[in-house]
């Protein structure tokens, strides 16, 4: 597979694509294990939380609880999978397998590696979002054909969280620090981002905090798409995720260069 056209040749997109292809080849070799991990968990969680917990929860905003939770889980799994790959996966490739070192001895530079890794992480977000979306459609939780746009939205979510994770990967010296990111940053974010309940149930101050979290914006954006309840905020949230991604990419590149080229 090659990038169509020659316009992109010798750009960061073209070079990052080479890293993406490397990761795809590795993924395809182990696809059975990978696919199970991507598809199984979201389905189980959707059924368990949506219907198990949902049986005790009233409808709100005209949505049943499973309808409300499905887009939140879609956004969350986009976050989890991109983060897993750009933290544990990338750290293993960099530190244990010396793959970045080998790549740097070619015409590739750290920014190409970061970009390719993040695009790959976001591609995994696409796969997992497709799994959640299929499950949601099968369970009758999707109300709008616009739901198909949840897949590119999941990609954007993956870029944002993949790039953030690469900042961590570029700066930590132990794998334990990555564990802390999961337990102290991502998990609290998971429960404060409107995945499981509407944010207006939170106290005023916490609400403002919650809206600054990228997962909140991703959840709200994807919920609008799967339910068909469109609002102008969705444009804002998209732009917010794009801005967040660009800044995180820039920072990750800075730290990755500092780590690899010395």
């Amino acid at each position: 597979m090659t990038v169509p056209g020659t316009i992109l040749r010798d750009t960061i997109i073209w070079r990052g694509w080479k890293v993406w292809q490397r990761n795809r080849d590795a993924f395809v070799r182990g696809w059975k294990v990978e696919v199970a991990g991507i598809a199984f968990e979201p389905f189980v969680v959707l059924v368990a939380v949506g219907f198990g917990l949902g049986a005790y929860v009233e409808d709100f905003d005209g949505l049943t609880y499973p309808e409300f939770v499905a887009p939140g889980l879609l956004a969350s799994y986009a976050m989890w999978h991109a983060t897993f790959d750009s933290t544990f996966g990338a750290y293993l490739r960099m530190e244990t397998h010396h793959i970045y070192e080998a790549v740097l001895f070619t015409p590739m530079e750290p920014e190409d590696i970061v970009f390719g890794e993040v695009i790959w992480a976001a591609s995994r977000s696409i796969l997992t979002s497709m799994a959640v979306l299929v499950a949601a459609v099968v369970l009758g939780l999707v109300d709008s054909p616009l739901a198909i746009l949840a897949i590119p939205a999941a990609f954007l979510t993956g870029v944002a969280f993949g790039a953030t994770a690469m900042i961590l990967t570029a700066t930590v010296t132990t794998i334990g620090a990555i564990n802390n990111y999961f337990t102290m940053v991502l998990t609290p974010m998971f429960f404060f981002s409107g995945v499981f309940y509407p944010l207006d149930r939170l106290p005023e101050g916490l609400q403002q905090f919650a809206w600054a979290i990228p997962l909140t914006q991703a959840t709200a954006l994807i919920r609008g798409l799967t339910t068909g309840h469109l609002e102008w905020g969705m444009v804002l949230w998209t732009l917010g995720l794009v801005a967040y991604s660009l800044i995180a990419l820039r920072i990750a590149t800075f730290f990755m260069r500092r780590r690899l080229v010395k």
Partner: protein, 307 residues
């Protein structure tokens, strides 16, 4: 005999904080030669190859590859080099052929060229039958050969090898040497770091001995041996209590020597200089030709460098 240097360094310096790893060295590597860097650990060999490979910025001085400064066009320079570092950086998630394909893509090679080049380098390094193997299914020698094959995929002008045979068994080392010798015959320029003296003597046209970030001497292996070790070395292993008498004799005759503890190496054109000395008669004495190891030990001393 040589037209132009491929790599030139002038006052090349690398500092890590307060530590000076490479301390203002000058050298030139000519097209088609095999240039060696010898030195104990911490001499600055690896750091120098990393600066040439554009993965470590130069702190001071000048470093050019094909006349281009490494600071200006790293991507172009890296495209002209094939680098084998000390780390085993084969991709464990990919099989042998996929390793080469991925690497070829990083060089921007088209698919068809990668496929034909991969076949050629795998044949050259006797790995043609292992295309579907995973790296962890290969022996240490095969992995090393694959690393070198991977570095040759894009037909680089210069092959940069950082201790290419360390940790290999004698058979594997000789196979690697044979292939490198073949490549040299094909006209590729080779930069080699090593602390195996036989390797340097066998492969290098010219070499430098480095220590503590500086170049101590430069020359062909033969010239260096002649100049710093002599044609013959006498190894004397004295009885414990007779060593002072031996050292006295050696010193009184004005001979060059190195006291290695249990053994004393006496250098010189003619080992017969020692004959007739009473102190020598009762010792274990061996005469042998001088070699690069003598040069190395004389120039860099015997202290360990790993602390």
């Amino acid at each position: 005999m040589h037209s132009q240097p491929v790599i030139t360094a002038k006052g090349l310096t690398k500092r890590f904080g307060d530590v000076v790893a490479v301390d203002g060295i000058d050298f030139a590597i000519w097209r088609g030669e095999c240039f060696g860097m010898l030195g104990p650990n911490g001499a600055g060999k690896t750091t120098t190859t990393r600066m040439i490979s554009c993965v470590s910025p130069v702190s001071a001085g000048e470093l050019r590859v094909n006349g281009v400064s490494v600071a200006d066009h790293p991507r172009a320079i890296k495209a002209s080099l094939g680098v084998v570092s000390q780390a085993d950086s084969l991709d464990p998630d990919l099989n042998v052929i996929q390793n080469l394909v991925a690497y070829g893509r990083f060089f921007g090679l088209p698919k068809r060229r990668i496929e034909s080049s991969a076949r050629a380098v795998l044949e050259l390094f006797q790995l043609g039958g292992r295309t579907k193997s995973r790296p962890d299914e290969l022996s240490g020698g095969m992995r090393r050969r694959l690393l070198i094959a991977r570095a040759l995929l894009h037909e680089p002008e210069v092959l940069v090898l950082d201790e290419p045979t360390s940790g290999l068994d004698p058979q594997s080392r000789h196979l690697v040497w044979e292939k490198l010798f073949f490549l040299k015959d094909q006209g590729i320029t080779i930069l080699l770091t090593t602390h195996y003296m036989d390797e340097a003597a066998y492969l290098c046209d010219r070499l430098v001995v480095m220590d503590r970030g500086r170049i101590l001497v430069e020359g062909s292996p033969r010239d260096l041996v002649e100049k710093h070790a002599g044609a013959q070395v006498v190894e004397v292993r004295p009885q414990r209590d007779e060593k002072p008498a031996l050292l006295e004799l050696v010193q009184s005759r004005g001979l060059e020597f190195e006291d290695l503890g249990n053994t004393v190496f006496v250098y010189g054109e003619n080992g017969a200089l020692l004959d007739g000395g009473d102190a020598v008669e009762s010792h274990d004495v061996a005469r042998r030709p001088g070699n690069l190891e003598d040069v190395f030990l004389r120039l860099t001393g015997r202290g360990l460098r790993d602390e």
